[in-house]
Amino acid sequence: MHAILEYGFLQSALLAGLLASIGCGVMGTYVVVKRIGYMAGGISHSVLGGMGAALFFGFAPMKGALVAAITAALLIGWIKLRWRAQEDTLIGAMWAMGMSIGILFISRTPGYATDLVSYLFGNILLVSREQIGHMAALDLLVTGMVLAFYRQFLAVSFDEEFARLRGVPVNFFYLLFLCLVALTVVLLVQVVGLVLVIALLTLPAAIAGHYIHTMGRMMIAASLLGMVFTTAGIMLSYYLDVPAGAVIILIAGGSYLASAVFSQWWQQGKARRSLARMFHPGTR
């Protein structure tokens, strides 16, 4: 344990993991419930375009990522609403185009190879104090928006038609929602890299959804699970000296698979017990 106290970079990494987990729990719950994991994947991969451009022009990659993620989210949302394009094709196009733009910029920037790998798979041990400040700000923004418009987000994601009939500006909230997903993606790219974002965004919420069935509690549980996964992953990767992003995802993925099996078994057990009580009252 003394490694945590001794090394500043480890403290920063752990803090970044905790901060990312908050956004991932809150927005991940919507992503899982609305089944838009593929959309989140599209946004996260298109982020490479922004990171590549930022690298080429000499900005902080996170700023480029932010611009690219919001642009991709708004483009996907706007084209879908305005032109009724088929969503999966549209997302696939944004996904591939973003990555292609990123690759072109990076190939024109000297010394690109190491940066590329850390963008794709994350390098949380290199996260700076300044980045942590930005991550905290993104968290505040995302959770603040969700708290302020909780009713509208719930109504729009539950039953869009009915929300529209109630006079809720559905298109506005849809676009705002996609922007919040984009912000969360940027948050998570810092930790696990853009390829692995979908996993960290969806797996904690999906595990929470196995046992918890209201949105608010799912968000809290998913955030806590995310914190456990990132913390365990960072510590393990430090002692094993392997990349943290990959370890975090393997822990989260393994937990998800185990939980999928366990929750099924548990539900069936519950059903059997309640049947037994119904037909043999008095026994347990």
């Binding site: 302020a148 109504a155 009939l165």
Partner: protein, 241 residues
């Protein structure tokens, strides 16, 4: 003032005509049944009244206003709920959604909203299910929750699209008894495929098969039904109260 006024309305999806020169006036406090074969345009007519679709020709006026302006004063119970049955919400949360669009924009529901939700859940006899998740409801219970959500809007007009499609006969009777009670304070439009059943409740029946013909309930007989459905429907004994 008429609750709903439809004048020479036509609607087509692309090149496929669905509604053809329809005129209809619904006075306040009427209980109107809309019947007709599948694909006869029933749901389309409702969506035009709700302002979810725009007429190709003609006009719709609801409570003296264009439909988009009047829609928050309507309550709507859809035929196929547009949501996933396993969505993690409780009955109470769903009913509260009927309160959206009234009151403040940010933050939670007011205590007045919660009182109204409680009242309509009592009225639809689902108060005991308030904390139940919607994926644990029977078809009839879900239907009541959707009626409660529509009532939480405190509507002047209640619009129901095939409210009894997925529930059994006994529940169907209960639901229409409730609608009859509600009719004392609001206009009701109900779409059904079962003309024999609803004619025991409604004041008038509008028969819709691209064109629309209205009948007073007393005048409905086997001949009218046959005209409408082209002999495909067996005549069922009328349901009287």
């Amino acid at each position: 003032m008429k609750a709903i006024k439809i004048h020479d309305l036509s609607f087509a999806y692309g090149e496929i005509p669905v509604l053809d020169h329809i005129s209809l006036e619904v006075p306040e406090r009427e209980f109107l049944g809309i019947v007709g074969p599948n694909a006869g345009g029933k749901s389309t007519l409702l969506k035009l009244i709700l302002g979810l679709l725009t007429p190709t020709r003609g006009s719709v006026t609801v409570l003296g206003l264009p439909p988009e302006k009047a829609r928050t004063r309507l309550g709507y119970v859809p035929q196929y709920p547009a949501f996933a049955r396993d969505f993690p919400v409780t009955v109470e949360q769903v009913v509260l959604m009927g309160r959206l669009g009234k009151g403040r924009m940010m933050g939670g529901y007011s205590s007045a909203d919660r009182d109204i939700a409680r009242r309509v859940m009592a009225e639809t006899e689902i108060a005991n299910l308030a904390r139940r998740r919607i994926d644990q409801l029977s078809g009839g219970q879900l239907q009541r929750a959707l009626v409660a959500r529509a009532l939480a809007c405190e509507p002047e007009i209640l619009i129901l699209d095939e409210p009894t499609a997925n529930i059994d006969m006994r529940v169907e009777n209960e639901l229409f008894d409730l609608l009859k009670q509600l009719n004392e304070r609001m206009t009701i439009l109900v779409v059904s495929h079962d003309i024999a059943f609803i004619s025991g409740y409604v004041h008038r029946v509008a028969c819709l098969n691209r064109t629309l013909i209205c009948h007073r309930t007393e005048d409905i007989d086997g001949q009218i039904i046959q005209q409408l459905y082209d002999n495909e429907v067996r005549m069922v004994a009328h349901h009287h109260h």
